[in-house]
């Protein structure tokens, strides 16, 4: 026994307590005894026990009552009830109350040792389960939604409100705002968390494939269906089905899906028996479903069926205050994933991150940080490591196409802004000498703007 197992024996008969105590001591148990329920509760207050052997008939509080008290103190304690007079009624009652087993005195030594062995196994499995549950809780609470902005706080409040229910959730938001993350968070905080969340990207699959993907198929249902296959809906049984890009499914799929959601039954393609299922549905879309309904592209009945509880995710540009937190969050996460020591984003770079429009939202931000970390040096992400230009700054003038002269002019202008018109520094960056830079400035008629002068030498306030 790696850890000394412990057992509490509760019986009003001294001889029974003594014999059991000696018996279990020889098995290496830590043994305690109690002559009645009150004493047993006192013993349990002082130390915890793995197993309690409990006589049903005792003066005062009887074993049944004590069992429910023990269950209230620690439901993980394995209770074995003992009785001198076997009665089916009490046995059933004890087991219903959560007793592990019920034995009649005297008990066969072989039976007793097996019984206690099984009880300890149960106890260690229980402990293992608890540990697993804690691990899941840790995993699910670790890398999730980041953001202190009122908009995100509101989203998190809504998640907390709806997670424990069985309600269908519709998550709206631009691409890259984290709709799947929200779906996973809802799932992870629901009672279904020990069952899978099954994501289906409706937009990524052609109609026929989506059908067999969702409903599964019997062998021979169509050419190439060589094996019977479970559909995503069946895989999500007891768990959550996450339908991403729900706005893209065809009219026929809308009808099929509605039928499944209404009946909770699914028929495999080519199958003859419906399969009863229990799953929760979370949908996501970046489309304007109301418009799609108005235009007849999306069925109104399905719309009402899935739009029970809507969560709207703000675009990243609508919560710029969260950008530094998010950027640092990705930096920390990626640093350990990439095993690269990048510990800081410079204030200039951060300023650039906050100012950017982020059409690709959080996904784009994560990618930008990842790229910046790859190219960064000295463990710091600087403004030059970022893969984009600030739309509002002079860099925005940098044309993607155009003549060489235009490109040169824009590039020099941008470099000058970045270096606060420090000619020596700008010439270094451009790898030309200062005289050449002066000539180019003159040639292109570049001038320092008043805004640049005002913030010269100081980082811009964020």
């Amino acid at each position: 026994m790696p850890k000394q197992a412990s057992i509490l024996i509760v019986d009003d008969e001294l001889s029974v307590r003594d014999s059991l105590m000696h018996w279990f001591r020889k098995d290496g148990f830590r043994v305690a005894t109690a002559a009645n329920a009150t004493l047993a509760l006192q013993v349990l207050e002082q130390a915890s026990y793995d197993v309690v052997l409990l006589d049903i008939k005792m003066p005062g509080m009887d074993g049944m009552e004590l069992q429910s008290r023990i269950h209230a103190i620690d439901p993980k304690i394995v209770v074995i009830m003992m009785t001198a007079f076997a009665s089916v009624d009490t046995a059933v009652r004890a087991l219903k109350q959560g007793a592990f087993d019920y034995v009649t005195k005297p008990i066969d030594p072989d039976e007793l040792s097996h019984l206690v062995g099984r009880a300890l196994k149960e106890r260690s499995l229980e402990a293992e389960n608890t540990q697993l549950r804690e691990t899941i809780a840790e995993l699910s609470s670790g890398d999730f939604i980041v953001g202190d902005s009122p908009a995100m706080q509101n989203v998190m409040g809504m998640i907390a409100q709806v997670a424990q229910t069985n309600a269908t959730v519709m998550i709206r938001g631009e691409s890259g705002t984290g709709k799947e993350l929200v779906a996973r968070t809802i799932h992870a905080n629901s009672a279904r968390k020990y069952f899978p969340i099954v994501p289906v990207n409706c937009g990524a699959l052609p109609d026929t494939l989506l059908e067999s993907e969702l409903f599964g198929h019997e062998k021979g249902a169509f050419t190439g269906a060589q094996f019977r296959r479970k559909g995503r809906l069946e895989m999500a049984d007891n768990g959550t089905l996450f339908l991403d890009e729900i706005g893209t499914i065809t009219h026929k799929m809308q009808v099929d899906l509605l039928r499944v959601l209404e009946s909770s039954e699914v028929m495999r393609l080519g199958g003859s028996h419906p399969v009863k299922l229990d799953f929760r549905v979370i949908c996501a879309t970046h489309e304007d479903l109301e418009k799609a309904v108005a235009e007849g592209r999306f069925r109104q009945d399905l719309y009402y069926r899935i739009n029970v509880f809507a969560i709207k995710l703000p675009a990243l540009r609508e919560r710029r205050g969260d950008i530094p937190t998010l950027a640092n969050h990705f930096l920390g996460r990626l640093a350990s994933e990439m095993d690269k020591r990048v510990s800081e984003i410079t204030p200039e770079a951060m300023q650039k991150l906050v100012a950017y429009e982020w059409p690709g939202n959080v996904r784009e931000l994560a990618n930008a940080i990842e790229r910046a970390m790859v190219v960064s040096r000295n463990g710091v992400v600087g403004p030059d490591d970022l893969p984009f230009s600030i739309a509002s700054g002079p860099d925005a003038a940098l044309p993607g196409t155009g003549s060489l002269a235009e490109m040169e002019k824009a590039h020099i202008a941008a470099t000058l802004v970045r270096t606060n018109w420090n000619i020596t520094q700008a010439a270094d960056v451009l790898e030309i000498d200062r005289a050449t830079l002066y000539n180019k400035i003159k040639k292109y008629g570049l001038q320092r703007s008043p805004a640049d002068v005002a913030t010269s030498g100081e980082p811009k306030p964020s």
């Binding site: 001889s15 003594d18 014999s19 000696h22 290496g28 005297p106 030594p109 040792s113």
Partner: protein, 175 residues
């Protein structure tokens, strides 16, 4: 250090003349002790439970203890009758943990009990193991997880046959 002694005491043992000397020889080797056979000094009927038709092992132990007062002396009752402790239907034996008294019964070690023909050699083998096991408890040894160690717990006669009569390296008692 006083010389180690083991007193063997027959309790309703019909064929003790053959079983006890062989057990004595074995115990002498295992525990390096002087083993003697002593008569029972009390009436075992006081430990009989008429409702169960068995003898109370713990009560027997208490009475046996009175016969082993000398330091370094252990007493082992060898019973021909069935033993019990209150909660269990039967026991092969019982011992004082880290004490000086133990008792074993041949009643359920005999093939005849299971409707098979008696096997004298097997019976002595089993008795040796159970006697060493119970005396091991008096040396403070607990049950061992190793299946072949004599200190492995046996709750069924088949279990007794599976283990050996020897202590594993971790259980070997200090003498």
């Amino acid at each position: 250090m006083p010389e180690a002694r083991i007193h063997l005491v027959p309790i309703y043992l019909p064929n003790h003349s053959t079983v006890l000397p062989r057990l004595a020889e074995r115990l002498q080797k295992t525990f390096v002790a002087t083993v003697t056979i002593r008569p029972l000094g009390f009436d075992p009927e006081t430990t009989f439970d008429s409702s169960r038709g068995q003898y109370h092992a713990t009560a027997l132990l208490e009475r046996l203890l009175d016969q082993a007062r000398a330091p370094g002396t252990r007493i082992l009752g060898v019973a021909g009758v069935d033993l019990f402790i209150p909660i269990l239907t039967y026991v092969f034996g019982e011992a004082q943990l880290d004490g000086s008294a133990a008792v074993v019964s041949v009643y359920r070690l005999d093939n005849a009990h299971y409707g098979l023909s008696s096997d004298d050699k097997l019976l002595v083998d089993r008795l040796n193991k159970e006697a060493i096991h119970e005396l091991g408890h008096t040396h403070g040894l607990l049950h061992c997880q190793r299946g072949d160690c004599v200190m492995h717990s046996s709750t069924y006669v088949g279990d007794v046959d599976l283990k050996s009569a020897a202590f594993c390296s971790r259980c070997k008692p200090a003498r």
